[in-house]
Symmetry: C2
Subunit: 125 residues, 2 copies
């Protein structure tokens, strides 16, 4: 079954946003979770550059415009409830603002937080 895709048909929250998981298309690493509005979804598909909505800045956030750590869209997927997105990406440089490859660098082991990915040399936290 195929249907023309319209970003307006996704289910957004009360702020008009939908969570988007970015996953490395090559090895499956989950890199980050961020948010998109309908405009960001459309921009991502139109340009091939993954674009989120920055909740802190209140504006479209084309990933990598400042850092150079861009995400090229390989494939966008939606879930059965149409209220979550999975974007498979080709990531340039680290996805995390701390310089780590993934934002999910902290694990809970036996009730304790453990950093399982070290920060890059010369950086802390």
């Amino acid at each position: 079954m195929t249907t023309p895709f319209d970003p307006a048909t996704l289910r957004y929250n009360e702020a008009g946003l939908i969570p988007a998981i970015a996953q490395d298309a090559t090895d499956g690493t989950v890199l980050m979770l961020a948010w998109m509005n309908a405009e960001a979804v459309a921009a991502t598909l139109a340009t091939g550059r993954v674009t989120y909505w920055s909740r802190s800045r209140g504006e479209l956030w084309r990933k990598g415009d400042t850092s150079g750590h861009i995400q090229r869209l390989v494939e966008m997927r939606l879930d059965c409830d149409r209220d979550a997105l999975l974007v498979l990406v080709e990531q340039t440089g680290p996805a995390c603002h701390t310089g780590r490859r993934s934002c999910f660098y902290t694990a809970v082991h036996a009730g304790t937080e453990v950093e399982i990915i070290a920060p890059p040399a010369g950086e802390t936290a």
Copy 2:
């Protein structure tokens, strides 16, 4: 750096929820995205059975209690902003209520929705 983990230190939304990505610990497939409250986070860690908050039913949802399609927790990770979780799981049966392994079975290809994982035999949609 290690710190005792307290579910109350995560950043929940105005409804007291945090998005949780479930990923197959074995092969990295992203299975679903659901939501946890602090109680669900604590229950998941305490029992090793991944437990969400069902927004539609308004109650704790220990995945698989009805379907048998349980998720054993392999590792819980949090992101740099402490406002998203990644749970690595050992999934029994399909994660999706449609019978598919992953909820992310629809992709957008050239502006068209395409189901990239077929429904199980005997089921539709």
